[in-house]
């Protein structure tokens, strides 16, 4: 199911429905990935986006461990332990795939050749700062992987997360309190309750799901604009 944005380009409140499910959220992210893009999907929830990319969209998936043209997860006889994704899960290759070593794979990111990456997050700030690699909690073992390289290198960084943590604390914040992954790098934020654009001018609500801009504004400590303001 694809939820269409407003054709007139105004902020849309999708009412009479609940928040987006994880699967619907992945579909909304997939909807916004331009045809023919080179895209990296982060570990975890972002990998679900691949299930919603139409085969004719010409999107080429990059995996940080050295491959363009990654196909779906491998099954049964297809499983080959030399062919895994960033989450170490066996995957398949599509026609036109290529392999390269790690320094090339990350040069591809850092050099600005990737169009879009989709990442999860603990927090995103109103300036687009991203915190997604480390809780900073005592005893937590820090592990960054390719998160900083992707956040810094991809032309567009899309983040998928719930807008509030389980205890109701907003994850879109004036200032990240978790250790940062990258500064002013997030351009779009996809959440269960709303889709946002983030620019140096601030945060703009593109769509809401099962809630209104006014209600979100009352729950977030961040100034929200709408497309109608732009």
């Amino acid at each position: 199911m694809i939820i269409a944005p407003d054709p007139a380009g105004r902020t849309t409140e999708h009412l009479g429905r609940g928040p987006l499910s994880r699967d619907e959220l992945a579909a909304v992210v997939a909807r916004d990935i331009p045809r023919g893009s080179f895209v990296n999907l982060g570990i975890g929830q972002p990998t679900m986006v691949a299930d919603h990319l139409p085969a004719d969209a010409g999107v080429v998936l990059h995996t940080e461990n050295g491959m363009l043209g990654m196909g779906p997860a491998a099954d049964g006889d297809e499983i080959d332990h030399d062919l895994v994704n960033a989450g170490k899960i066996p995957v398949t290759e599509l026609p036109g795939a290529s392999y390269f070593h790690h320094a090339d794979s990350f040069a591809m990111m850092r050099g600005g050749h990737l169009d879009v990456c989709v990442l999860g997050a603990f927090q995103v700030s109103e300036r687009g700062d991203l915190a997604n690699w480390h809780t900073g909690a005592p005893g937590a073992i820090p592990a960054v992987g390719g998160a900083m390289d992707l956040a810094t290198g991809a032309k567009d960084v899309f983040v998928m997360m719930t807008l509030f943590s389980k205890d109701g604390t907003p994850k879109l914040v004036p200032e990240c309190t978790y250790p940062l992954t990258g500064l002013a790098c997030v351009s779009r934020l996809y959440t269960d309750l709303a889709v946002f654009r983030i620019t140096p001018d601030g945060v703009t609500v593109v769509e809401t799901y099962g809630t209104t801009v006014r209600e979100l504004a009352s729950r977030l400590d961040v100034a929200l604009r709408t497309l109608d303001d732009d």
Partner: protein, 225 residues
Amino acid sequence: MTAVLGDPDEALAGIADGSTVLISGFGMAGMPVRLIDALIRQGAADLTVVCNNAGNGDTGLAALLAAGRVRKVICSFPRQSDSWVFDGLYLAGKVELEVVPQGTLAERMRAAGAGIGAFYCPTGVGTPLADGKETRTIDGRDYVLEYPIKGDVALIGAHIGDRMGNLVYRKTARNFGPVMATAATLTIAQVRRVVETGELDPEAVVTPSIYVDRILDLSEAEAAP
């Protein structure tokens, strides 16, 4: 001249205590498990290990860690669902950890192999991983100064080698192998089989023989009694 060997212990002879050891692999793909097993038997201790992950399960790098041979791990992603050996040692304060963004880890080794003294990298600017590092603004963008990581030894998991020492890899098991092979004083590769010189397509060689000192031929090692 590359030595082609069938005995893992011969392949790992002469590794000194205190060495920096680069180990290829992303998870288990491209992990040179037979070479690591031989390194454990060889006995070198007080090692600094550079690897993307800090071991999976109980074999390979995890076994080297469990044997207490590793003083420090330099990696991008130690924490995994099956990294219990590292997790236990780290939380007990028995191993040091330097976390490096994955692309910076690869590029620091590339720099070592390519004779680059240091480089300015945009990754990590404004984050805790840039703390204490020199930064510089170039053409309006901020960068962090990063230094090379040079290995005393590189242990590489490749697919096929020839008698000259040329290597080809297979699919995503290539990962850090080609970069690490350039960045160490002594590069040792394990390959699934060795072919005669001339049998590999020169256009398809990924690691040229100049970087490879010893090859362990697994087909011969498996066949050995």
